[in-house]
């Protein structure tokens, strides 16, 4: 039974702290931990901040559904997903996915699967705030993100 943790928060997260709850003495059957952290890019110096709008309630529920699906596809010990919302500075961490398993392949694949689905199904929307004071705008969804899903269904 995979232990699933999902949190939606404005505060930063701590990779070590999450790793510690998933590994160590009490998890001595765990041989592999894969973490993915997504960061706010400055888009070649253009941005002063990125604002993340989200749908409270559904954000947690949808990410939990994605994690549950991953836990059914791979033999995981634990799976954690944390997504921040609000206004974030360039260089700030936005999202963390951590997967632990007996073997490395399952941990790698599950973490990438969660990220691929989270990108197109978790109800978050990014708005850019340019450095030059212009209004900026909402980020368009990427076709490459839709394409990334095809590898999990074919």
């Amino acid at each position: 039974m995979t232990s699933i943790t999902v949190r939606i928060q404005n505060e930063p997260f701590d990779i070590n702290a999450e790793a510690e709850t998933m590994t160590g003495d009490a998890h001595a059957n765990v041989g592999a931990l894969v973490t993915f952290t997504g960061y706010c890019r400055d888009e070649d110096g253009r941005l002063s901040a990125l604002e993340l709008d989200h749908y409270p309630g559904m954000a947690e529920a949808e990410i939990a559904r994605i994690c549950k699906e991953a836990a059914e596809r791979w033999p995981l010990d634990a799976l954690t997903a944390i997504h921040r919302h609000g206004k974030l500075q360039p260089g700030a961490p936005i999202v963390l996915v951590a997967a632990s398993s007996r073997h490395r392949r399952a941990a790698f694949e599950a973490a990438e699967f969660v990220m691929d689905f989270l990108k197109t199904r978790a109800p978050f929307w990014k708005k850019e705030h340019p450095k030059d004071g212009t209004p900026g705008g909402w980020v368009d969804a990427k076709e490459t993100d839709d394409a990334a899903l095809s590898r999990w269904t074919s």
Partner: protein, 82 residues
């Protein structure tokens, strides 16, 4: 039923949420989008429904999904999180 909007859908409509009672002929999400598109300038975006996504009671649904019994319907652009 309660409608909730996010991102530029919320900005263009001008409210984050509203209560509506659509006519009985509005049976699906696609019907609802068309109905909203007739409500005036702030709602013009609903005429281009292919650019929009919807959720009923916090679960993704497609345009053909019936809205009967829905407590909360969310309408928003394609997602860009992660």
């Amino acid at each position: 039923m309660k409608l909730v909007y996010f991102a530029w859908v919320r900005e263009q409509v001008g409210v984050a949420e509203e209560e509506i009672t659509p006519p009985a002929t509005v049976a699906t999400i696609a019907d609802l989008m068309e109905h909203l598109g007739e409500r005036g300038d702030n709602y013009a975006l609903f005429k281009n429904a292919s650019q929009l996504r919807a959720a009923i009671d916090q679960e993704h649904v497609d345009p053909a999904t019936p809205i009967a019994g829905a407590r909360e319907i969310a309408i928003f652009p394609p997602m860009t999180g992660g």
